[in-house]
């Protein structure tokens, strides 16, 4: 139960290292890097590898953006399992991600209360 904190730290850190290498070595923009990671999460879930990964690392696997692709794919596949090919399409619309909805909600709240500041430190 406790080792999960250590694995969360290490696995989460390592996923970020992959992102940093895509930034610095592959010279990708942040947007490109995040898209690649999301697609990677989605593919890993298709192979059935992402869920065991969450069991192993907890938040280390659910907090990085890769889990976003995993959540969407997981939802779509769950629907597909129930309703076949049609389920893939309907599943796409049924899947909700707390990441998107909370980002929208908090983004709007932030726009109500904050102003941007051009401070360097």
């Amino acid at each position: 139960m406790v080792s999960i904190f250590i694995t969360a730290f290490i696995v989460g850190g390592l996923i970020c290292v992959v992102g940093q290498l895509l930034f610095d070595v592959a010279k990708l923009t942040p947007a490109h890097t995040l898209c690649i990671l999301v697609v990677a999460g989605s593919v890993l879930d298709g192979l059935g590898l992402y869920e065991p990964f969450i069991d192993f690392a907890g938040a280390g696997a659910t907090i990085p953006i890769t889990s976003f692709g995993n959540a969407l794919t997981h939802g779509a596949m769950a629907e597909a399992e129930k309703h076949g090919l049609i389920g893939v399409v309907t599943g796409m619309f049924e899947v909700t991600s707390s990441g998107i909805s909370s980002a929208i909600l908090f983004g709007f709240i932030a726009s109500l209360i904050f102003k941007s500041k051009g401070k360097v430190k």
């Binding site: 139960m1 406790v2 080792s3 250590i6 730290f9 869920e51 065991p52 069991d55 192993f56």
Partner: protein, 148 residues
């Protein structure tokens, strides 16, 4: 001047991360000593003999702890796994359930490696009032079903 100043601030920032990290580690260690260790317990308020279950859990090296509750027709076990066995969490859960079902064919058996379930079974064991146990076990079972 400015350069020196910013470098100092930078070092401070670095130091900050280390303290933060170390603090978390210490907290983790405290937690570790608090709630794990080789901890295999069984609470039996049914008529069934629970020694077989004890054997199954005690002899499995992939488990670090197991809390099992026998109540009326239900058997619910909250287990914790060694770090790398967590990869095969679902498989281990299924396997243990199957083995228990062999010993207790007429019982409704639930095995979960989820730490929430482990926490709750721990609470169940310490419960003095056994009246609400059935309800609580049903609730746990519904929680586990939510997972998918």
């Amino acid at each position: 001047m400015n350069k020196v100043k910013s470098e100092k601030a930078y070092c401070k920032e670095m130091e900050g991360t280390h303290i933060w990290k170390r603090g978390l580690m210490i907290f983790a260690v405290v937690l570790l000593s608090g709630c794990s260790g080789n901890d295999f317990r069984i609470d039996n308020s049914s008529s069934e003999d629970s020694t077989k279950a004890e054997e199954v859990f005690n002899n499995d090296k992939r488990l670090t702890s197991a809390v099992t509750v026998f109540h009326e027709n239900d058997v619910i076990a909250g287990i914790t796994l060694t770090t790398f066995s967590r990869f095969k969490k679902e498989k281990i859960e299924k396997e243990l359930k199957k083995r228990l079902e062999e010993y207790y064919p007429d019982k409704d058996i639930t095995v979960s490696a989820d730490s929430k379930i482990r926490m709750e079974t721990d609470k169940l064991i310490q419960l003095d009032n056994k009246k609400n146990m059935g309800k609580k076990i049903d609730k746990l079972k519904s929680l586990i079903k939510e997972e998918t």
